[in-house]
Amino acid sequence: MGLLDKEFNDDNIVITKVEDLLNWARLSSLWQMSFGLACCAIEMMATSASHYDFDRFGVIPRPSPRQADIIIISGTVTLKMATRIKRLYEQMPDPKYIISMGSCSNCGGPYWEHGYHVLKGVDRVIPVDVYVPGCPPRPEALLDGLLKLQDKIRNESLVKKAV
């Protein structure tokens, strides 16, 4: 499916599939939970600011897990924080998506061997949709991760699982 406006033929009639409509609505307004952990959060904030402008993809910060669609795990996940992240994730309503941003939350990063306090990858507690590599990733990389997530949502189906 292209953009919905391509489906306009005449006047104000739109013809599309329910699935495509739902997916288009979902991927176009991913409200992001206001939540940052470490230095990756600084890059995430830079991505939200005017220069990179997350808002043009419909991503706006929402300071409540109950009204958020996406959580960006931006930084080192300590064992102490991991229990809190799990609780925040469980408070988010479905459908919910996770971007794991940076090496720390992907796999433990520089703390992989001697970090007695670090969870070696946030995917040990919550299911991750898109991994963004980098230490920290540049805003362009995070934007690319978001576009990948939008592609994933675009191919979702009510009857079969997304790939």
């Binding site: 064992l79 229990t83 796999c107 992989w112 061997e113 306090h117 969870l119 070696k120 040990r124």
Partner: protein, 176 residues
């Protein structure tokens, strides 16, 4: 302004046996070693004396001296028996401008040091950190809890040289 030698003579004259020795062999700073039971008393004196006025505790840190006997366990890991843990105090007088480093050592099996949290309020969290990382008990501390690790952390004190990380914490796998 007083030199470390002058300061050592002053506290040695006042506290006698509680002041163990002055270590001048270190590359950067001269360290005065004191006994762990007398730390608080010496700190009150250093802070309140008109000629010393050590009004600022710049740093308080724990230290694993790793000077005990190393015992190889059956699973291939080592455990340290005996030896000491230390606490290091970096003091500064903002009023006068001189500095001083104190160090106290305490047995590894029963690590107990007098708290200085009532002398310098900033020592409160520093001592909690030293307790969290090394298991040093600060006697008369107002609120000695873990500060960085989770409150229910049962695997021990992470910065000890013979620390072993647990396999699991609350169902989460810890090793890579």
């Amino acid at each position: 302004m007083k030199t470390v030698e002058e300061l050592f003579d002053l506290v040695k004259a006042k506290f006698g046996d509680a002041i163990l020795q002055m270590n001048t062999s270190l590359p950067k700073e001269t360290v005065i070693e004191v006994s762990p039971e007398a730390v608080a008393e010496i700190s009150w004196y250093l802070r309140d004396d008109e000629e010393l006025k050590f009004d600022n505790l710049m740093l308080l840190t724990g230290l694993d001296d790793e000077n005990g006997e190393k015992v190889k366990l059956e699973d291939g890991t080592t455990e340290i028996k005996g030896g000491t843990l230390s606490v290091v105090y970096h003091l500064e007088s903002m009023a006068i401008g001189h500095k001083l480093v104190l160090k106290t050592s305490t047995p590894r099996e029963t690590p107990e040091v007098e708290s200085v949290a009532r002398v310098w309020a900033c020592a409160d969290w520093h001592e909690r950190e030293a307790y969290d990382m090394f298991g040093i008990i600060f006697k008369n501390h107002p609120d000695l809890r873990r500060i960085l690790m989770p409150y229910d952390w049962e695997a021990g004190y992470p910065l000890r040289k013979d620390y072993k990380n647990p396999e699991f914490y609350q169902g989460m796998k810890v090793p890579y």
